[in-house]
Subunit: 204 residues, 2 copies
DNA sequence: CTTAACACGTGACGC
DNA sequence: TGCGTCACGTGTTAA
């Protein structure tokens, strides 16, 4: 265990006198390269307090794990929903082109201040005309959501006339349903939307 | 430069014989820690071919940069995934159903003017996610309007993926179109809506 | 004075 | 044989 002094007790390897300097030079170069890498690594790892090698390595390890976890979350997030706040989003108002019956003002709506607005899903919209009801739902793509929505609609004493579901992007669906209220039963649109929204809260 | 054997030739610092072993022991511990960190780092960096320290550091650096870039892309993607949307005409605001997030005046909007409100047509709405574009048009029922709309959409360098037209009530249509922008061409949603609206002004 | 970290030269091992 | 890499012991320096 204890190192003895092999002054000339070279049982193993002898060093050529000329190449001896090559060795220490090569070793210097190696250390230099390692040092550079350490510096480079520490420069891309944010928030390092200690700059010694062990800490750099340790923090780099933590950082890599953190990044990997974050990527996992982000990739899942793009697949899934970010719900929690299921809202009936208010729609952004664009200055109407022909708002009133007078449809002569044509170029009054050049001010598109906010195109990239954040939208929370699902977005539920309904409108009624006589007995016809149109329901439009923009929601996260989930298996069985159409059936659930349709059954929910039918449970509200609405007979479905037509329905379509369009995939939009790779994570959302746009469902359009036209239904009819039967008999004397009529429902205020706001109530319909509230019920649908409540159903969505149960779904997801 | 050349290492001499300072058995007692202490030009600089003398080492207490007892603490001399402490020194080499501490150094061993330090090296051990570094080795562990290296192993740990190499274990979380995928696809390492060379296992020497310089390569581990170098690949770890590349990997961290790669992860950072990927996160940037994913975060931008999630931002882009929030659909940008433009509605042309004024739309009726549905009060958020009794909930926390929208704490506006809760049920003050129940007045009767919502359902029986006169709506100005056509109503054009578009939203985009990545290359997908969704167009919804609520307009008066007119023969040939679907064909005109579709040809107009195609003339805007959009390839139609799906389209549906639903009769709603007895005098209006609800047209939903999903299209894709081809190639590098991209169009701001507001421009798309403006063009469609302009086309409608010519149609009707 | 202790503690910790570093760079250095050096022997050893593998290709 | 050389070339590259490693771990070791050691001297040195800064907190």
């Amino acid at each position: 265990m204890i190192k003895t002094r092999p002054f000339s007790s070279m049982a193993t390897t002898t060093r050529s006198p000329s190449h001896a300097q090559d060795h220490i030079l090569a070793e210097r170069k190696r250390r230099e390269k390692l040092s550079q890498r350490f510096i480079a690594l520490s420069s891309i790892v944010p928030g390092l307090k200690k700059m010694d090698k062990a800490s750099v390595l340790g923090d780099a390890i933590k950082y890599v794990k953190h990044l990997q976890e974050k990527i996992k979350q982000l990739e899942e997030q793009t697949k899934k929903r970010t719900v929690e706040s299921v809202v009936l989003v208010k729609r952004y108002h664009l200055p109407a082109a022909d708002d009133d019956d007078d449809h002569s003002n044509s170029s009054s709506n050049d001010d598109a201040d906010d195109d990239t607005r954040r939208r929370s899903l699902p977005e539920i919209e309904a409108r009624a005309s006589e007995r016809d009801v149109m329901i439009r739902i923009h929601c996260e793509k989930q298996p069985g959501v159409l059936a659930k929505v349709l059954s929910e609609v039918e449970s509200l004493r609405l007979s479905i006339v037509n329905s379509s579901v369009l995939p939009f992007g790779n994570s959302t669906l746009d469902i359009t349903i036209v239904a009819q209220m039967d008999g004397e039963f009529s429902m205020k649109v706001i109530e319909l939307v509230k019920n649908l929204r409540l159903a969505f809260l149960k779904f997801m």
